[in-house]
Symmetry: C2
Subunit: 295 residues, 2 copies
């Protein structure tokens, strides 16, 4: 076994992602010698001890990070600012602070100012998840073959970046480094907008008259079902994601809405060539995904 | 084996759906004694003969339907009016005419007027498909466990309806009878709108700058991918579906757009409770689908 990357790893939040990290760390042994779990409620921490996925549990985040050489925020991104303020003064010199949030500019905005000199900040976004949440939902294979994007600000210590790269690679992920603003635009179109659309169409269907609503469920297999698959996600997490990637999400939604309106116009006026062209583009993109084994 | 339902079954169009019907008929033997295939091109019919899925091939639709006691339109719905005009005078007295189109009011509008007295019209919509097309794409199991909706106009011969019900049940489908206008609204929300959205978001993503477009493909797994799955469909078929279910589709798109704009407003103004409520509704609908084994 390789030397553990860290001596003491503190996980602030121990839901689906945090508990999956804890499980990988337990299973491999080369991520950290000691795993400290922090959560908002004692009930969650009691469950974590029962599951045996952490060495120590600590309900006070300031105490949880004491002596830790790696601290990872694993709570919904809306909770980051308050958490960062609470732990800032208690961070060990030279510690690496990271996170797992789906929005990265907001994370830099919310955590960055609270970190003392000499602490290294490497924001991260492991692109993995299921529709389940809580410490029971995690599993060690969650990150296997998935992307983890690192978005450090310019000037970040290269050694800290490279240790977080190794950390995620040991979790089974493929790692890529990119600018936070660029990250936020990419995830706005590949993830946040599809989720917003999925939540919305579920509401639209649910608002239909009673009889039709029954049949929406009955005949869902013809397309609607694929949208509900991604609509079964954690409400707090997604609320925070939308609110913390506001600009990019609204821009992508505006682009999509313009395109949908253009399609509506083509349908209304019978512009067959326009419709055919759009369907062909969808097919082409699907084929491109198949070609790169992402379908 | 039960007595064959029909003596001579004519399939006008022999793509994914038509060739799947032909294959079931061949496999079971109790749908029809003789299967006649019609297509627009001789190349398709040559392929059908090679595949051995029809007893006779006939490029002239008027000749294909001669002596047939069951005629099923299996072409894109945009081709139905011209086909119906061509075959009308050649239909055998007492024959049943049906179809497999995804829009039903337009089919009644386009086929109905061309049918002579004494011919029974039972419009049908088997809700099954894949992203592939053509006579090679069909398979006998396509309709197994899927719904087939019949939308006969009031006054249609009950025996004709019940024979088409038996026909689709023997194909493995679950059959439901409903009003054509109601059908068009239900499929607009469960199928046509999701497809329109899927085609549109593929175009929106494809219009992004080159660098982002690459990453859309690379990171598609986080949501976008689920949308492309249904975007890989046949362009001619979908063009015709959109144009022939115009009113219901535009109404559902308008409702969805209002809801998406309300969500955009909540994101812009930070209305956390509104967003959470919508995400919860998505989750509830997903759960309802799981509960009725449609997920």
């Amino acid at each position: 076994m390789a030397e553990p990357l860290f001596n003491r790893l503190a996980l602030l939040g121990i839901g689906l992602i945090g508990s999956s990290i804890a499980r990988v760390a337990r299973e491999r042994g080369d991520l950290a010698r000691t795993i400290v779990a922090n959560a908002r409620t004692q009930a969650t921490l009691d469950r974590v001890m029962e599951l045996g996925i952490a060495d120590e549990c600590e309900i006070d985040p300031a105490r949880a990070v004491q002596g830790a050489d790696c601290v990872i925020f694993c709570a919904p991104v809306g909770a980051y600012a308050a958490l960062a303020e609470a732990i800032g003064p208690h961070l060990a010199p030279g510690a690496i602070v990271s996170d797992v949030g789906s929005t990265k500019q907001s994370v830099i905005r919310d955590i960055g100012p609270h970190l003392p000199e000499g602490v290294h900040f490497v924001p991260a976004h492991p692109m993995a998840g299921t529709e389940f949440s809580g410490p029971d939902a995690g599993f060690a294979g969650l990150f296997k073959g998935r992307w983890c994007l690192l978005t450090p600000v310019p000037g970040t210590d290269q050694d800290a970046i490279s240790r977080m790269r190794t950390f995620w690679e040991r979790c089974g992920a493929m790692v890529s480094v990119m600018d936070a603003a660029h990250h936020d635009r990419v995830v706005a179109i590949v993830s946040h907008l599809p989720h917003l659309i999925a939540f919305t169409i579920c509401g639209t269907a649910d608002d239909l008259a009673d009889e039709t609503r029954q049949e929406v469920l009955q005949f869902a297999a013809s397309g609607f079902r694929d949208f509900t698959r991604i609509a079964a996600s954690d409400p707090t997490m997604w609320r925070d994601v939308f609110l913390n990637n506001r600009e990019a999400l609204l821009e992508m939604l505006a682009r999509f809405t313009e395109d949908a309106q253009a399609m509506a116009r083509a349908v209304r006026w019978g512009d067959a060539a326009y419709i055919e062209d759009k369907v062909l583009r969808g097919r082409k993109i699907r084929q491109a995904l198949i070609d790169i084994n992402q379908a």
